[in-house]
Amino acid sequence: MEVTRRAFLQLTGLMAGTTGAFERFIRHRLMGLPAPADDVLLTPHAPEQWLPSVCQLCPAGCGVAARVVNGRVVKLEGLPAHPINQGSLCPRGLAGLTELYHPDRLLQPMKRIGERGEGRFEPIGWDEAIRTLIDRLRTLHQRGESHRVAWLSGHTAGIAPQLIERFLRGYGATRHFVLSPPTGELPVDAFHMMVDWQGQMLYDLAQATLILSFGMDWLQAYPSPVEASRAYGHLRRGQPDRRVRVVQIEPRLSVTAAKSDEWLPVRPGQEGWLALSMAHVLIRDRLFHERFVQDSAVGFEEFSRFVESHASPEQVAEPTGIPAETIVRVATEFGLRRGLAVGSRADALTQWAVMSLNGLVGNIDARGGILRRWEPEALSLPAAVTPTDAPMLPTDAQALPALLQSQQPSPIEVLVLSSANPCFLSPSPSRWADAFKAVPWIVSCTAFLDETALHADLLLPTATALEQWQYAPTTASDGTVVATICRPVLAPRNEARGLPDLILQLAQAFGPPLDNALPWHSLEQLVMDRLHALYDAKVGLLLPPISVPGTPAPSVEKPAMNVEEFGKELLARGGLLWPAEASPWPEFRTPSRQFEFVPRAIAERLKASPTLFPTEESAAAAGFPLQLYLYSPLAFLNGYGAHLPHLQQIAGSQLHEAWVTWAEIHPSTAGALGIRDGESIWVASAHGRITVKARWSEGIQPSVIAIPLGLGHTAHGRWAQGIGENPACLIEAKRDPQTGQPLWQGTWVKVWKA
């Protein structure tokens, strides 16, 4: 069999010059050559390796097993037994190889030679790049103007955010601005206000008894998409004789809504009323968790008074568009089952309203409810030696454009960007380009020449996740902590460097006091340091060994290891984990020992006006009759992904759309405007307009038009650039007064045939 196949390969090789249907026909039918039993294998027995790494295409931090053949990475699969993804990956992670091998990656440091934003750069060496940056930093430092350096980062995974903060502190700067994604973030602001604790929260989805989502398309836009999918499979058919119900409240029939038992098409912006009216029902019918409310909460009386008088199902039925009976039925089920109310980081009031439902059923620090992210002490870096203890200033990235332009000259002289693309993904993105004009010098650490990098003076090419050492702690939704710790799977392409390595190199090149704050020459050295510390701490469990598909898992480790063996094993397996039971939050506890139903900021707002979620009839009157609803498909989670062709192709599968910006509109609404299915239309707000492809859909609230975020790039590589339109330009740059976060929803638009 082998012989015939080889002979066949040789023959076909000889005939490679003659291809085409006819030749193939001759070859096989007339020459009587045997057909191979299956595919022609190119290299049947090339040696392969499976190496651990991590995916950093979203904040989840899934463990990855990379298949390496002849030095090429040919496939990514999930790291088996990794607590976040248990061997699976989401479509983004699977497309990660294309990010690594993308033909338009930035692979060399460059300096600007044209005008800002024009995109003309010339390659320079790393030595020159680092020297230029260090000279700038040193000059400011010597002048005592360290505070005139600021850092703006987008989604930065792994250890990098910690290193950035240390870098800034060590240098004496206090401004690290962090851009938050438009959708799919957890409602941390409400959690901070009501639980009086500044850490991060988690939804323990997989153990929930009912999931009631207020506008969060959690199967698609979630901080940990693989965990959301895993939880869903488990809730539906993963437990004997138990199927957990899922209810989706959202103006659009999202994927989550399609997969739910019930879809309540609420009017956009009214999710909060719906939550409060359900609270009304829970209190009226005494379906709340009395012990939690009595022992662990304050403000229940005030809260009850408000929802009793302002949020009865009958009162909110009209503005929300959801019948009172439905509200009562769903609220009753929620209370009886002690469900989990999930919502995203919307405006503060909506976050608060949804969070209050979890408080009412006592689902805080409870299995199947809300848990806290935690980190074992052994994982954190040793305390830094920094010259200043000055607290970092507020990091509200949306305030940055105004700050940059607030004085002449700009209070910021050097702006460092890492993985931040506000010129594409923020409300009214063009204002960022204007603001950047005021900054004398901008350096961008980026893997792609994106819209924002075009405004930089210096471009530093960053490596992707697989090309770096990794020290990436994260917490799974059930509270299990995992630190993915591993070697690079392959060397960085060309001149690219990992951001952590770059930061460490800059600190070393700068010298004191920066090198005291960051006393490592490379991330490799940091990892080795930490390996010793983790060995000494004797905590955490090694991940099981990677088993190659088709082989039984090797036996478990031998009990005693010396530090070298430990390090070797750990790096080969990809990390350590701490089971959820080790969490220091086994039960509800806050410094004040109380869950606050009506935190101060909210109380003031309630006093000012009981109309918490106005319907803004004025907008309709002003000629903008439709409400714009923006969402991120999983393919474009956090607005990122359009540069990968496979993600472009799957983003619009619900409507079989791809490679175009589509807009969902109800046939009755479209019909009244004379818009046919598939036609090109204008969508205009008071701030901008775009042309999109209208798609009729029965799965949309008739007063709404829904458009996906993530398309409409003017840069960012061949598959992103020039495809679709960017609805961010329709959005006014407004911020929530309590959270400072941009308000992505709530724009009124008009549409007409293009």
Binding site: G78, L97, Y101, D261, A635, A658
Partner: protein
Amino acid sequence: MVSRRALLQRAVVAAGALVFLRRAPTAQAASGQEADAPRPTHTPRWGMVIDLDKCTSCQACVVACWAENNQPLPGPEAHRAGRVIEWMKLLSVHEGSYPRVRQRLLPIPCQQCDQPPCTTVCPVFATYKNPEGLVAQIYPRCIGCRYCVNACPYTCKFFNWSEARWPASMAQELNPDVSVRPKGVTEKCTFCHHRLQRAKEQAASEGRVLQAGDYVPACMQACPAQAIVFGDLNDPASDVSKAQDNPRRFRLQEELGTEPKVTYLSEA
């Protein structure tokens, strides 16, 4: 849509006409192949169950299949022409009207029919059902007539209208276990047959027989929701046989008599 259906109908008629011409040679080819292979004691019959109540429509399976099987890159032109090659694809169907609307989302690989209408129409025997029930495609034999593309009632065969190209840097990520198909041939989901080969070789090198779980297609491997179960339908104790034994089961277009080996479990 209408024209495609018409095409499909015609193809089914054509398939019927060709059946007589085909029988004998297929049988010969199959027995010829078995002659040099060691005769296994148990012949598996590979099949799949997709539980739609677990599936979240995330499309990890779609991307995993692309990545595993060196399928040509999708792009705007291919999409507009309806020529994107996706062996695993997500089908979406709306039912009802607002607000009582449902959307069904189904991941669709080749159904690996036990009575495949696609194999019987092939004039050059480039597509056939192998002894383990996999419907295979022999690329070097395919003359690109596209009869089978039209005969498949599930639109699971794909024709290479143009040459598959990758930018030089991206050619590195191609799977060395899977051939790159030339322009002018038809291709389809193979249930990741090369992974079966690999698993068999691995088992042989360890001197053992193939075990349940050794052979897992890329889509199932990737699926976060564990919605896909795969295995030997001839083994009543296998996970896939057990998963099939479910009142929620249904198969796509069963009335055509294709006897798919992919079974779906409905949502409620």
